[in-house]
């Protein structure tokens, strides 16, 4: 560049017009102006809020969080009564959100991977059915799926008194929810728990050993069956040796509803099923694109080495496809988590329903409640991204 060499020779005196006409300064000028405008916009928004609060005679305070909430919540994972403070109601809501997000992500991943692989099936009927499923779910708003699931449950299933007792009374579907047996932990169940955890570790160690052995000798063991045996057998044996420490509480019709056992509410089921099916359709497309992005030569090379199709998929295609699948998968997890805030449509008490719903409404603290709810979703989303990015780095190509 001749211009550059010109400047190094004779130093031009600085003039104000250079801020705009001189390439060296122009970008700084524009950036400073942009930042100034941005700050002004933010300042205006903040002062507007402060002014409106003053006009309404309200103060900005989080003290309401320590007052009794005075309302009941049906699904609560921690001890909570109507006398508990608002912050505890918020925690109940947070846990409900996390439960639905966690279970939803798991179900959506399993379904999505299965459907994505099936859509590539050579079986015409299977692949077409999966196409219909994917297009159907992707192109209808998730709120409608949630409402449809909820309406289907409450309209089609019978009331508790007419409900059928399936599996010998162990499973009772009603229009209020599903009653299932719940475990009763008696003395000795702690030991059983330790044995269970130990067997899982054992199964994992065995898997590592089998892999090393295969690498060394080329011999393949029936890993799946041996692993299952390691996990199940000790637990079953000790269950009887310890005198059956874990009992089952069965649902029983008492008064208005079934008592005892576990109760999975329709609001939860409707939300879980709808969110999972909806997100699974998107994940299936990610999986399909990931698999199709792997060159056909990889499959052919694996076949020519004598690998059967299943092993080709598991050992050659999927590990490479994962690198492409995971980044968009993260955003699907985030979508599912954020979509779970539609819970209020079916009366599932998530954070939007408790803190952002009833608490907001009963205390009139819109600004404070909504800021807290938004902060919560932001933190959860960033955490999910963070964890998934760590996983993504572990499967990404390691360049050495």
């Amino acid at each position: 560049m001749t211009v550059a060499s010109d400047f190094s020779d004779d130093v031009e005196p600085f003039r104000l017009s250079m801020l705009i006409y001189d390439k060296r300064y122009r970008s700084y000028t524009l950036q400073i102006i942009t930042i100034a405008l941005f700050m002004l916009a933010v300042g205006w928004l903040v002062s507007n809020v402060v002014q409106n609060f003053r006009d309404l005679g309200k103060e900005f305070s989080f003290a309401f969080l320590w007052e009794p909430a005075s309302y009941d919540i049906n699904q609560r994972l921690i001890e909570y009564t109507s006398r508990s403070p608002h912050w505890k109601a918020a925690v109940v809501g947070i846990l409900n959100t996390l439960v639905i997000a966690f279970l939803g992500c798991i179900a959506a991943t399993i379904l999505g991977v299965a459907i994505g692989v099936m859509r590539l099936s050579k079986n015409w009927l299977v692949s077409r059915l999966m196409t219909v499923y994917i297009e159907g779910f992707r192109n209808v708003p998730v709120l409608l799926w949630i409402l449809l699931a909820s309406t289907a449950f409450s309209a089609m299933l019978p009331a508790p008194r007419q409900a059928p007792l399936l599996l010998g009374g162990a499973f009772v579907p009603t229009n209020r929810g599903f009653y299932v047996p719940a475990p009763i932990w008696e003395s000795g169940s702690g030991v059983l728990g330790i044995i269970f955890v130990a067997s899982i570790i054992g199964a994992w160690l065995f898997g590592r050993w089998a892999k090393a052995r295969q690498a060394a000798t080329g011999e393949i063991l029936p890993v799946l069956w041996i692993r299952l045996a390691i996990i199940i057998l000790p637990v079953v044996i000790f269950y009887f040796l310890l005198g059956r420490p874990v009992g089952l509480s069965m649902p029983e019709l008492k008064g208005f509803n079934f008592q005892g056992g576990g109760f999975v509410r329709n609001s939860f089921m409707a939300l879980w099923i709808a969110l999972s099916l909806y997100t699974a359709a998107f994940i299936a497309e990610n999986v399909r694109s990931g698999i199709q992005a792997i060159s056909k030569g990889q499959t052919e090379a694996a076949y020519s080495l004598g690998l059967p199709p299943k092993r080709t998929m598991n050992l050659v295609i999927l590990p490479q496809a994962l690198r492409i699948i995971i980044p968009p998968l993260i955003s699907q997890y985030l979508n599912l988590t954020k979509n779970s805030s539609l819970a209020i449509a079916v009366g599932y008490m998530d954070i939007t329903g408790t803190l952002g719903g009833i608490t907001l409404n009963q205390t009139g603290r819109e600004m404070e409640s909504l800021l807290l709810v938004m902060g919560f979703y932001l933190i959860v989303s960033l955490l999910i991204s963070g964890v998934m990015n760590v996983y993504n780095n572990s499967v990404a190509i390691k360049e050495r």
């Binding site: 104000l16 017009s17 801020l19 705009i20 102006i33 100034a36 405008l37 002004l40 916009a41 300042g43 205006w44 002062s47 507007n48 002014q51 006009d55 309404l56 005679g57 309200k58 005075s70 309302y71 009941d72 919540i73 049906n74 009564t81 109507s82 006398r83 409450s154 309209a155 009331a159 229009n175 209020r176 008492k254 008064g255 208005f256 509803n257 008592q259 329709n266 609001s267 209020i344 009366g347 008490m349 329903g353 719903g357 009833i358 409404n361 009963q362 205390t363 009139g364 819109e366």
Partner: protein
């Protein structure tokens, strides 16, 4: 060029620092718009519903029509906005509606903390329970373990928690948004009990296909003085609401109806009636309205008793007896301050 950019930046800065100044008085705004913005419920038979022509009718919209008649002389100059239990206060506070006439219970926190001003009570209510007759339940004390549908964001939600706690009973709350949704869930038997204000229950039951299969339990577990409300801090506007409703109640007490109001204005010799109808004094102009405000309000839908009988009274399908809502001199507690 340089100066141009500088002016632009300065102009933008100046524009940005101008904040929205406080709005003028509500009455001026309403007059400038040419119609009254009124928040009603999303639909409770008798209390607020849309007729065949799509116009809002009912006990609550009638009050808004009376206010519109008092301000503009035209009961149709109202824009109705349906609100749910959750959205109603935000709608009022944000100025989306100017007055909320929507089965809203007057409470301390709504008055003082949420910064609203309540008009006189236009319906004295209490929270009740509705169950199926076939359940054989005769008292709310037998409801332990029941699944109960409640509208969220209401006082009933809080009363319910208090009542069951005080009586050491458990229940399974099913939170829902609107009366229609509650009705659907209750009829599908997804909840054993529906609880809300007793008037709302009676109204909802009246719309059922087989109303006599359902029964209201005798317990009334709370006081629910339902009153219209406006934003805090505009006394003139609150006065217009207060005195329009008072005029309707006083009209019933004095025997002034929609039909005989003109005749009364011309011929009545009773001072209280002459003051009410604007033949004496200048109450209308003091409110910032014209002096025929009250007679217009009465002619819009009749006096309090006429409105009550037309929409929710014993002769309607809703069939609510006057009870507490009878005039004070006829055994009720309806007692409006005099125009004087």
């Amino acid at each position: 060029m340089k100066t141009k950019l500088l002016t632009l930046a300065l102009g933008a800065a100046a524009f940005a620092t101008v904040s929205t100044s406080a709005s003028a008085a509500t009455l001026d705004d309403v007059k400038a718009k040419g119609f009254l913005q009124c928040g009603v419920s999303t639909g409770v038979p008798g209390f607020a519903f849309t007729d065949d022509a799509g116009d809002w009718q009912g006990f609550d919209p009638a009050l808004c029509r009376a206010m519109a008649a008092a301000i503009f002389g035209d009961p149709k100059a109202v824009k109705f906005t349906p609100t749910t239990g959750k959205t109603r206060f935000t709608a009022l506070a944000s100025g989306e509606v100017d007055v909320l006439a929507r089965n809203t219970t007057e409470t301390f926190s709504r008055d003082v903390d949420l910064k609203f001003t309540f008009g006189p009570v236009n319906y004295y209510d209490g929270q009740g329970f509705m169950v199926r007759k076939s359940l054989g339940v005769t008292s709310a004390k037998n409801l332990s373990g029941a699944t109960i549908c409640i509208q969220t964001g209401t006082t009933t939600e809080l009363n319910l928690a208090d009542y069951f706690r005080a009586n050491n009973m458990t229940y399974e709350p099913v939170p829902i948004e609107t009366n229609a949704e509650a009705q659907e869930k209750y009829l599908a038997n997804a909840c054993d009990v529906y609880t809300t204000d007793a008037s709302g229950l009676a109204a909802t039951r009246a719309a059922f296909e087989k109303p006599d299969e359902h029964v209201l339990l005798p317990e009334i577990v709370s006081k629910e003085p339902l009153a219209p409300l406006t934003r805090h801090g505009d006394d003139q506007w609150a006065d217009i609401l207060k005195w329009t409703l008072n005029a309707l109640i006083n009209a019933e007490e004095l025997g002034v109806t929609a039909a005989n109001a003109d005749d009364m204005l011309a011929n009545s010799k009773i001072p209280a009636i002459r003051r009410l109808l604007g033949a004496e004094g200048d109450f209308g102009t003091k409110l910032g309205l014209s002096n025929d405000w009250s007679i217009n309000a009465i002619k819009a839908g009749g006096n309090y008793g006429e409105i009550y009988d037309k929409y929710i009274g014993p002769k309607t399908a809703i069939g609510l007896e006057r009870g507490l809502n009878q005039l004070w001199n006829k055994g009720g507690i309806l007692y409006a301050a005099p125009l004087r």
